[in-house]
């Protein structure tokens, strides 16, 4: 019993990273209608920045959140206006998708050039600190990741529900053309949601730096995991995306424990496909959300 609880706890903590990444994907998908495949690479990039500022200047990763988040937001705005501004206005969304693929490999190789191929990680003085409740042992840093994920979901949710800009983003994800005729600049709305998506990649990057070791190729795998989380949760729902991430983490840990580590990916992609076949709207999406042709 104790071990099952431990597995669930580990799964939730692993999944919180997927959750943050999936929320970012969901926001970007809402307005630009593409799966932003470079999201994982952006996360890895910000993990490297966190690592770098820790190595060079001794800045604690959690302190660097205050610089990484605004920086990521600005990077997001810059990338949008440089790369996606024209493509996002096209009816054919494949152009944006291909741009994202190009961006992914470009940044992958940029990271390789700057930091080399050796896996990196941040070793903090408190990395070993563990929270013990009965039989359950949880490293504090992983626990903090869950906090980051919950806080990210809550902030994005409040932004969408309570702010005027957030209302415009929600409207744009329902019907972009009608939104522009209500006086909303479609380029601006896409840019804002894209920048927030990249800011979330910044949050996830800091989280990744504190817990994982990472290298330049890790981004694509991570983007696919985020995509799986998003599909499990149902696109267009902040807490669904987070829950999808947590669920994916639990599935991976259960598979590792009960079937074997080699089966992790088989199990998680198997569940991913089963969900898409039987519940295309995701586990937490409303039924009938996905229209039939």
């Amino acid at each position: 019993m104790g071990s099952l609880v431990q597995i669930l706890v580990n799964g939730i903590l692993l999944g919180s990273m997927y959750g943050i990444a999936a929320i970012g994907l969901s926001l970007i998908f809402g307005t630009m209608r593409i799966i932003f495949l470079a999201q994982g690479t952006m996360i890895v990039f910000f993990a490297y920045l966190t690592y770098w500022s820790f190595e060079k200047a001794g800045i604690d990763p959690y302190l660097s959140l205050f610089t990484v988040i605004p920086l990521a937001f600005v990077v997001g705005l810059g990338l949008f206006y440089l790369l996606f501004r024209k493509a996002a206005a096209l009816e054919d969304k494949n152009v944006s998708l291909l741009l994202a693929v190009g961006l992914m490999y470009l940044i992958d190789n940029l990271i390789l050039k700057i930091w080399g191929a050796t896996p990196r990680g941040v070793n903090l003085s408190y990395s070993g600190a563990v929270l013990v409740i009965g039989d359950i042992r949880v490293p504090w840093l992983r626990f903090a990741l869950l906090g980051l994920a919950l806080a990210s979901a809550l902030v994005v949710y409040l932004f969408l529900k309570r702010t005027r800009v957030g209302t415009a983003v929600r409207a744009a994800s329902e019907d972009m053309e009608a939104t522009t005729l209500q006086g909303i600049n479609s380029v601006w709305v896409c840019a804002i949601s894209f920048a927030i998506g990249i800011a979330l990649a910044g949050v996830a990057g800091v989280g990744m730096a504190t817990v994982y070791s990472f290298d330049y190729q890790f981004g694509f795998i991570f983007a696919i995991k985020a995509l799986v989380a998003l599909a499990l949760g149902g696109i267009g729902n902040v807490f669904g995306a987070l829950a999808g991430g947590l669920l994916l983490g639990i599935i991976e840990n259960l598979a590792a424990y009960y079937i074997g580590i080699a089966w992790i990916e088989v199990a998680s992609y198997g569940v991913f496909m089963l969900v898409l076949i039987f519940l295309p709207q995701g586990l937490f999406g409303r039924r009938g959300l996905v229209k039939k042709v």
């Binding site: 209302t167 929600r170 329902e174 019907d175 009608a178 522009t180 005729l181 209500q182 006086g183 479609s186």
Partner: protein, 245 residues
């Protein structure tokens, strides 16, 4: 009602899709404080005219001016800021949001620098269409007729000088149509905006409008006061077919 200066002017506007000439050399004017109907059989190009005015499509030739400014090719949101709003035949209010959220959004973004704050404009617009008591209802739970009223309120909240109505009566019952006409009539008298009204149902437009234009196969075949247009031989032919004899 006495019409003022020209507000919206289309001159020589043409648009084709592939080999199909949808709009052909169209000249059309809407004056200040004027209610104009634009009628025509199915497929005559009525909705295309709206999409050209709101810059969803770009015309192949011709120019469109609003308040004396060329708006051909201007971004749709800028045209909205200039005081032109529209409704859709298939309502496109945002169904996942509440009535008030819809109207607030239109009020906040629809116009720049207005002396009245968006909250006040949104509340007034809901008041005008008699929807205040449904402000917290989700748009997805409204009847078709209420959704139409909601779209009109969204338009009103940006204080437009011209509202484009795209078949607002389609799919409504007689009672609902009466209510809609009353609401549109009283708000128009209070706010004194112009209306360009596309309609398939000819009789309502003839009763309600100061002037009526008729298009068929993208060509304007009549333009004048409702009584004259109703008796025009070309118009009758467009709707009923060529006379047998």
């Amino acid at each position: 009602m006495a019409a003022g200066a020209p507000l919206l002017t289309l001159s020589g506007v043409s648009k084709h899709f592939g080999g199909l000439q949808v709009i052909n050399d169209l000249d059309f004017v809407v004056h200040e404080s004027e209610t104009v109907g634009l009628i025509g059989p199915n497929g005559a190009g009525k909705s295309t005219v709206f999409n050209l005015i709101t810059s969803i499509y770009q015309p192949d030739r011709g120019s469109i001016t609003f308040k004396g400014t060329e708006i051909t090719g201007l971004a749709p949101h800028k045209i909205c800021h200039m005081g032109l709003s529209r409704t859709y035949q298939l309502v496109r209010a945002f169904l996942k949001m509440s009535v008030m959220e819809n109207v607030m959004m239109a009020a906040v973004y629809g116009v720049k620098h207005h002396e009245q704050g968006p909250k006040q404009r949104a509340a007034e617009a809901l008041e005008l269409v008699e929807m205040s008591h449904k402000r917290d209802v989700n748009a997805a739970h409204l009847t078709l007729s209420d959704r139409r009223l909601l779209e009109i309120a969204m338009g009103l909240s940006s204080m437009p000088s011209l509202i484009l109505l795209d078949e607002p009566m389609a799919g409504l019952t007689e009672v609902e149509i009466q209510h809609l006409l009353e609401v549109i009539g009283t708000t128009r008298d209070e706010r004194n905006f112009s209306i360009l009204w596309i309609e398939h149902k000819v009789d309502a437009v003839l009763d309600f409008c100061d002037r009526v234009g008729v298009i068929d196969y993208g060509v304007k075949i009549a333009d004048g006061c409702p009584d004259d247009v109703a008796c025009d031989a070309k118009v009758i032919e467009a709707y009923l077919g060529e006379p047998v004899a």
